[in-house]
Symmetry: C2
Subunit: 352 residues, 2 copies
DNA sequence: GTTAGCACTCTCGCCAATTGACTGCTAATA
DNA sequence: TATTAGCAGTCAATTGGCGAGAGTGCTAAC
């Protein structure tokens, strides 16, 4: 492909992303190639169409990028576009004020990412059980339940468990301390799996904790199951899909929105690992029929090479790829900072 | 109004709520008045139109209820329609498993009510500071923050506050116990306002708690402000508005949905007290211009005569009033049960 | 390789005619 | 007096045709 064709194609795609109306030869002339005539541009556009990057909706209309055209654009222009400063600050604020429950954080991130990009966002929490335990607290409440708080390197896991009222508060404190000293720097999964071994090993010392541990593990398993049954997905900002002219058709929009609340569909997109920083799938590259006239952006947050959470944006193929890429990069970056911060902290102030 | 007119009107409204298409004379004949001719029915419909209960969109179309017609229907038919058993169980489950944060509970209730009715739902948390304290716990975390847990008669208030790492855990326990014994059976507002007095009164005994109390009160005030700034509103299920044929027009739907995320608008509907169990406002009865072709249902949850939370449903005037009324009644009923249960519990197991 | 010019194609908005669904009204009937 | 049958009238919705406008493809000239 000649340099000129490349310029024209990239310009056409960019233009179309902004305007949402088919690109004409005069259109391009006024925006980037003022020294060429429309006739020449028509020849070039014709060639680009033959090459499969553009297509015409009908003989006498302008041209629209094909999935291949978008793909070319995405591969070429992956430079960052600076995000809105207010949005940046808002994202940063969420992470700043991070002594927050993991579940809430996931919701907030989905909200913010959707707001920043103006498309629906999906967050998939893949393995909270892989997070590294820093501290465990079991707090008995008056209502016959207790609150489990597990501080990890990426936020706090919280869950309620049933609790007998006749167990003294101190027992809960002791049990919590035991769990913290035993499982600090281990993963939650480790704790769930290995608590049995510790119990056997330590004999009657732990007898009084047994009941507590059993119900705690049960309730954590329950939480795992709950997250697993929803596939760990949280979708937010579905309404924003309606802002795109391509989804002014309600039925079309509904089909996409329905897919967003169907774990089975989303699974196919987010389950398989993805080692790119930001990946885009366009059109038929998406393994879900209902979404094949969409584009999906995805970024993963990984710890030690394992993906903990995925963030996805779903929109029309004519989505603002550059803006989305920078939003996702920024969010994932904040995630990483968070982890660095936490491990520092963890070293500094040991729990007695 | 004659009995026959009444029958015809109620039937027409009910029919229209189901079918969403204008009611014709032959329509009524086949559904309720098979012994009358369509001509007679036309005379009756004509009379009902003259009385202002129905109106024609154009000369040769069927008739549609006016706001006055819906109002008559609502006042007449307030009998309960049994709700879907699955929905009933789901609502019940939320309250059953009630050791849950107030904030989460509000979200879940909005979700469920919206799901049950198939319309957008709004929950307004008016005065969590009016709730009665049963127990206070301040739990220090590793990240330089502490978790405030206030168990009340209607769920747990939770919020984070900054905390110095060098304060020993026991101080937090003592501070928590002090707050619990001092303010149990008082409202949260009482605690926020009167903690100053207690501090002055008790002198240096409390000196070591001062810092903790100050930051706690600050952070609770912050929470109050945050809730106040959003008007305390949580809207869910906005998308369901699109299911109604009257909102297939996107712009029309968006105007309503925007109003639902505008505290200023919602305030006008939910701020003034409402002593009916379930109240409906139809059309111009709603004090918000953007919502004047909608209907709004509202139910309040009150403690000691004061409204703590309001639940609202927004939909087209052609909404299923009976179904909405029963869903709201059921939810408010569960709320009340909750309170009864809690005060029992409170008597039984005292905190040391 | 580039450009000007012309014919061609297709969408969109507009208008008129047709169709079909209901109603209102009038006159006949119980 | 209340009800009904029948007929004329009204209006929305659909259809088809027409013209304008936008944009292209192609060809011939530069």
């Amino acid at each position: 492909m000649s340099d000129r064709k490349r310029d024209i194609l990239l310009n056409a795609v960019e233009e179309y992303i902004q305007s949402a109306s088919p690109i004409t030869s005069s259109n391009i002339r006024s925006h980037c190639s003022e020294n060429l005539s429309t006739a020449t541009l028509r020849n070039e556009l014709n060639a680009l169409e033959a090459m499969g990057y553009l297509r015409q909706l009908h003989t006498s209309s302008g041209r629209v990028p094909t999935a291949k055209g978008y793909r070319y654009f995405v591969n070429s222009i992956m430079g960052d576009v600076p995000l809105d400063k207010a949005v940046l600050d808002e994202i940063h604020g969420i992470f700043e004020n991070r002594s927050i429950y993991l579940g809430d954080m996931v919701n907030e991130i989905a909200d913010i990412v959707s707001k920043a990009t103006n498309y629906p966002a999906v967050v998939m929490l893949k393995g909270f059980e892989k997070l590294i335990i820093k501290n465990v607290k079991i707090v008995p409440l008056m209502t016959g339940q207790a609150l489990i708080l597990i501080e990890t390197n990426s936020g706090i896991i919280n869950n309620f468990m049933p609790a007998k009222v006749d167990i003294p508060t101190q027992t809960y404190v002791d049990a919590s301390n035991f769990l913290t000293t035993t499982f600090a720097e281990h993963s939650v999964a480790d704790m769930i799996q290995n608590i049995e071994n510790y119990r056997v090993q330590m004999g009657k010392d732990l007898a009084e904790f047994c009941g507590i541990f059993d119900t705690m593990i049960d309730s954590l398993k329950c939480l795992c199951d709950k997250i697993a049954s929803s596939g760990g997905f949280t979708a937010r900002g579905q309404l924003r899909l309606l802002n795109s002219p391509e989804y002014h058709d309600l039925d079309k929009a509904k089909r996409v929105i329905d897919a967003l609340s169907n774990p089975k569909d989303l699974e196919q997109i987010f389950d398989e690992p993805d080692d790119e920083e930001i990946s885009f799938r366009i059109g038929t590259e998406i393994p879900v029929t209902e979404l094949q006239d969409c584009a999906v952006a995805r970024a993963d947050y990984t710890i030690d090479g394992e993906s903990i959470a995925s963030i996805g944006i779903i929109g029309p193929q004519r989505m603002d790829y550059a803006k989305i890429a920078s939003a996702l990069k920024f969010v994932v970056g904040e995630f990483a900072n968070l982890k660095a911060l936490d491990s520092n902290k963890g070293d500094k102030d040991e729990q007695k």
